[in-house]
Symmetry: C2
């Protein structure tokens, strides 16, 4: 038996250990960061909101003009087969389309490339450790960089252009902060590496709708707020307004709702996790167990019955 305990990958129809999965150094997916991807969580042996994640991935394929010669059913089948083989109960599951290699020597025409799909999964990733998240994390607003503008690379088409985030992360880590938040060129709050950002003003919850990925967890938060009787606003969020928030929190497929206790030298909710964020965090872990949003991983043992 192949050891898939570190995770698995689906490469060209074959399941292999994640650590053995690789792409060519001349693939435009690497040399031009020419990929789109998505990440769906698996929790307690079921995909959460799989259709929503795959919808967004397919929209990214269309926007980026990738032809992977697989339809929705093929993609879902690959993900089920891979996660089942891995045996993981809770997983971070990535699906990726890459532009591929250009078979025409010297060609710079992206239409000549051989696009391809692959996927990989590893044990569930918490982008902030759960104990830190529970008591409220720390966020550094990047000073040396601004988020790549939407008219350069569209953040709604989920992509690997993370140079701005990486610069922000170096700044944050050097200063002892957990993560970073980027502003746009007009001092609006955008997003951070792997998360959307929310500000709470009384019973109003505000998040940006511009220059950001429209996260599926962001959508879950907006739906949970509606259920909890909180007002929601999706719009430009100026930094000057953000500073006046009662609470701040992050949303991510890698850990759900993450309260923020501190941004730069400003403490929110007295330097702890705020009550709204804490309630939404608990609610998220309920929602990911709701049958209506869950598609059980088709494990091999189940297939054989």
């Amino acid at each position: 038996m192949t050891d898939l305990s570190n995770g698995a990958a689906w490469m060209g129809g074959t399941i292999i250990p994640v650590q053995d999965a690789a792409i060519p150094v001349t693939d435009w997916g690497l040399t031009h960061a020419d990929t789109v991807y998505d990440v769906v969580p698996v929790w307690r042996r079921a995909f959460f909101r799989l259709d929503d994640y795959v919808d967004r991935f397919i929209a990214s394929l269309t926007a980026g003009r990738y032809d992977i010669d697989m339809d929705r059913a093929d993609i879902c089948s690959a993900l089920h087969q891979m996660v089942a083989a891995s045996g993981l109960q809770d997983a971070y599951v990535a699906m990726v389309a890459a532009r591929g290699r250009n078979p025409v020597q010297g060609s710079r025409d992206p239409r000549d490339c051989t696009n391809h799909f692959y996927a990989w999964c590893v044990p569930y990733v918490h982008i902030v450790k759960p104990d830190i998240a529970a008591r409220g994390t720390s966020v550094w607003i990047a000073k040396s960089v601004r988020r790549i503008p939407t008219d350069s690379v569209d953040p709604k088409v989920k992509n690997y252009h993370w140079g701005d985030f990486t610069s922000g992360l170096f700044e944050a880590k050097d200063k002892g902060f957990e993560t970073t938040l980027l502003l746009d060129h007009a001092d609006h709050v955008t997003e951070g590496p792997g998360f959307n950002v929310f500000a709470v003003f009384g019973d109003r919850v505000v998040t940006s709708d511009h220059g950001v990925l429209h996260g599926i967890t962001r959508r879950t938060v907006l739906e949970m707020c509606a259920e909890a009787g909180l007002q929601t606003e999706t719009r430009l969020l100026p930094l000057s307004e953000f500073w006046r928030a009662d609470e701040v929190f992050l949303s991510t497929s890698g850990g759900g709702v993450i309260p923020v206790a501190r941004v730069d030298d400003r403490h929110f909710s007295n330097g702890t996790a705020g009550p709204v964020a804490t309630a939404l965090r608990a609610k998220y872990f309920d929602w990911i167990m709701r049958d209506m949003h869950r598609i059980p991983v088709q494990f091999e043992t189940e297939d054989q019955t």
Copy 2:
């Protein structure tokens, strides 16, 4: 004997066929486009301006905080060894540093990653076919995208964030143009995929110094202009001024000086290669044979003497 006729790669000290060289799907080099790289041409069995290219690569390593545990001599040795093994007379030689994998499960700290160096070479790439270049190529100014700003990702640190270029290339190719040129957010001319841009006004040659890679071929052009008694200006180049140029040309390590006959629906130098660009193109192919800029590839047969 391994077949290296398509090119070779240097991976962890071993020379392998370029088509077998790959990096892990979980390497931040891929998942965060977290690489810096450089490309040096080999022409008639010698590196052209190798020191300049390696200087720039080392500056990129420092700016991006990569620790590849190799010094200048190690890098040059890897390149010589690889190109020699490939047997290529004229080659496109890439050196790359990648952030690598993060051994700490779930860590988002770039400082935890295991950085690494690799290199690969393929037969020399002309980014525009020589026959088209000689009679003047066509350039489409991208309308749907602007160049990623310098305060999001610094173009002087040579990197794989090509999403804006790829969008521009799709536009250009759909309209039947050879390549694309991107503007910044204030309507200045910046650069295109793999090249700098020059505008000629009488005996003055102007190229941008902002929002662009400081190309080694760009430097060669500036030096060739000085030798030819042409004035040079490196500064912001507004699109409105660019339209009034007598001639336009591109500079690239993938083909030298490339005259431009047409930008959008505007013909330059009567829709042909202009005289200044044509002269500089010829001069470039002389310069790359000048001993002062050449470092012969240390072929194995020579090592054995």
